[in-house]
């Protein structure tokens, strides 16, 4: 049977502690740089969130359904994931998302956006030290980690395709992970960074074989 049932959840996550999702492309002065979108605003890559959810899923529910939910590749075997997770886009001080390429400079002059854009040149960072096996700082072990201060909010969307005869257990189990105590994003999570708080979640399911449900899906605001 074809996967014709679509679950959609739109949610807002707030950084409960400072968030540090790094791009892996430092500028030669600071050792790390935050992942930013085309508008230079800090963002959460969908793959980052998917990786954390997959890890939590395995810890919480075991390996059953892991591959079918998140996809897998093993030699010549493999399957695509029915789950898709959007990038998390930063909300401004009025709670609106900066989705897509923002060409209106006025929009980026929002105080919250102006603050994080300023952090491009002067990032907020934490000094860290790499420890050796004896628990002492290693030579040349000092480094810094750029962070986004706590309180910033991101909007994102999660979609899951399912067969119509399936119940919504997987979907509910998946959403439950968003309030899991171990739900943290980015790096240095063991140092307290990256704890996320679920602020709001709106969800709906659509049966694409049902004309009324399909029309309702088409009516969902895309931006």
């Amino acid at each position: 049977m074809q996967q014709s049932r679509l679950y959609i959840a739109r949610l807002v996550l707030e950084a409960d502690t400072a968030l540090s999702i790094n791009s892996g492309s430092p500028d030669g002065v600071f050792d790390t740089a935050l992942v930013r979108d085309a508008n230079n605003l800090p963002a959460i890559p969908g793959s980052s969130l998917a990786g954390v959810l997959r890890h939590l899923w395995r810890d919480e529910y075991g390996q059953a359904d892991e591959n079918s939910l998140f996809g897998f590749q093993a030699g010549s075997e493999g399957a695509a994931s029915p789950l898709s997770i959007s990038w998390g886009v930063l909300l401004n001080s009025k709670g609106n998302a900066a989705e897509g390429l923002i060409l209106d400079k006025q929009y980026l002059q929002d105080p919250l956006y102006a603050s994080v854009l300023q952090q491009m040149d002067t990032p907020v960072y934490r000094d860290r030290v790499r420890l050796g096996h004896k628990g002492a700082a290693l030579d040349s072990g000092k480094f810094d980690r750029a962070v986004l201060p706590a309180g910033h909010r991101f909007a994102l969307e999660i979609r899951l395709w399912a067969k119509p005869e399936e119940d919504d257990v997987l979907w509910r189990q998946l959403l439950a992970l968003l309030i899991h105590p171990g739900f943290r994003l980015g790096g240095a999570t063991r140092a307290g960074l990256g704890r996320m708080k679920l602020v709001s979640l709106h969800q709906q399911q659509f049966d694409m074989k049902n004309p009324q449900s399909r029309d309702a899906f088409l009516g969902v605001c895309r931006t």
Binding site: D27, G28, V29, A38, L103, D121, Y125
Partner: protein, 314 residues
């Protein structure tokens, strides 16, 4: 010729939209031959030339026979020839064509003549040499003026450059792309590198004068430059950073501070001796530049000097 005009696809992976070219005809000035000498002839190959000898065999040896100029001998001391062989792919037949052995474009052949060439002969040479002329091979320039003397001489074509560069489209996307440019960062980093070299050279002069062995620490330590870096990392304006570095009792670089007080001998003997703190104060004075350029420059500069100390280069 009309079938050639328009858009065509050339080369490989055409189904993947590679190789789309637009063809139009245009008039080209043929290079005019230089002054004709009765005793010598110079040929400059403007494209590959595929020669054949009198037996119809391909040849890569230029001589009177293969060039079609009887009574001519190649002056090898004035000749420069390179060759190559290849088999062109024939897309219509899905196979390779006959192998070609050619003298490559750019080769120069100098011939000593026993009898002067007629005007008709010169004109025939200008029409092209050898095989595959329909495919663009065989173009030569007879007695090019540029090669008349021992060293090539270049002259302006006197052709005004009429090409007008396209203006910037009035599109917000272009403005966004320009805003992504990081020229200022590269400029700051280049300047920081130059400054770091100058400061390292000054410390080396001081070390040399004081007679301190390279293995011994001298001047500011790595962690002192780390403090400079820390100040730059947290600075929001050039002025604030300058003050933090040099002003007051809590300055990072103090004239009487350990490491910063070493005396720098003048480079050319005309200037006065200064201690390193004063030297740096002059060197690191903000110019007429944006805050972020100055701040980034100081950050990169201190990183360079930390590396120099780590690797014992100062």
């Amino acid at each position: 010729m009309s079938t050639l005009q328009g858009e065509v696809l050339l080369g490989r992976s055409r189904s993947a939209e590679y190789g789309r070219v637009r063809i139009r005809t245009m008039e080209l000035d043929r290079p005019s031959p230089g002054s004709i000498s009765n005793e010598a002839l110079t040929l400059w190959l403007l494209s590959d030339v595929a020669l054949i000898d009198s037996q119809g065999r391909m040849s890569i040896e230029p001589n009177g026979d293969t060039l079609g100029i009887p009574d001519a001998a190649v002056a090898w001391d004035k000749t420069f020839v390179r060759t190559r062989r290849y088999s062109p792919w024939n897309a219509a037949r899905h196979g390779f064509d006959r192998e070609r052995q050619v003298l490559t474009a750019g080769s120069v052949i100098h011939l000593n003549l026993k009898t002067a060439l007629s005007v008709e002969m010169i004109s025939r040479l200008h029409q092209g040499l050898g095989l595959y002329r329909e495919a663009g091979l065989g173009r030569v320039w007879v007695n090019p003026p540029m090669l008349a003397d021992e060293h090539p001489s270049f002259k302006s074509t006197n052709r005004p450059d009429t090409a007008v560069s396209p203006g910037k489209p009035d599109d917000p996307l272009i403005a966004w792309l320009q805003s992504r440019r990081t020229d200022w960062k590269e400029q700051a980093e280049e300047e920081a590198r130059r400054l770091a070299e100058s400061i390292a050279a000054a410390i080396k002069r001081a070390r040399h004068f004081a007679g301190v062995a390279p293995a011994l620490p001298y001047g500011p330590s790595k962690s002192q430059w780390g403090t400079v870096m820390h100040a730059a990392k947290n600075a929001h304006s050039s002025q604030a950073l300058q003050q933090k570095l040099f002003e007051g009792d809590a300055a990072v670089i103090k004239p009487k501070g350990e490491g910063w007080l070493i005396e720098i001998p003048p480079e050319d003997g005309r200037e006065e001796w200064k201690n390193l703190a004063s030297f740096l104060r002059e060197q690191l004075k903000p110019k007429d530049e944006a805050d972020r350029i100055y701040i980034h420059k100081i950050r990169v500069l201190s990183r360079h000097l930390q590396d120099d100390i780590e690797k014992r280069r100062v």
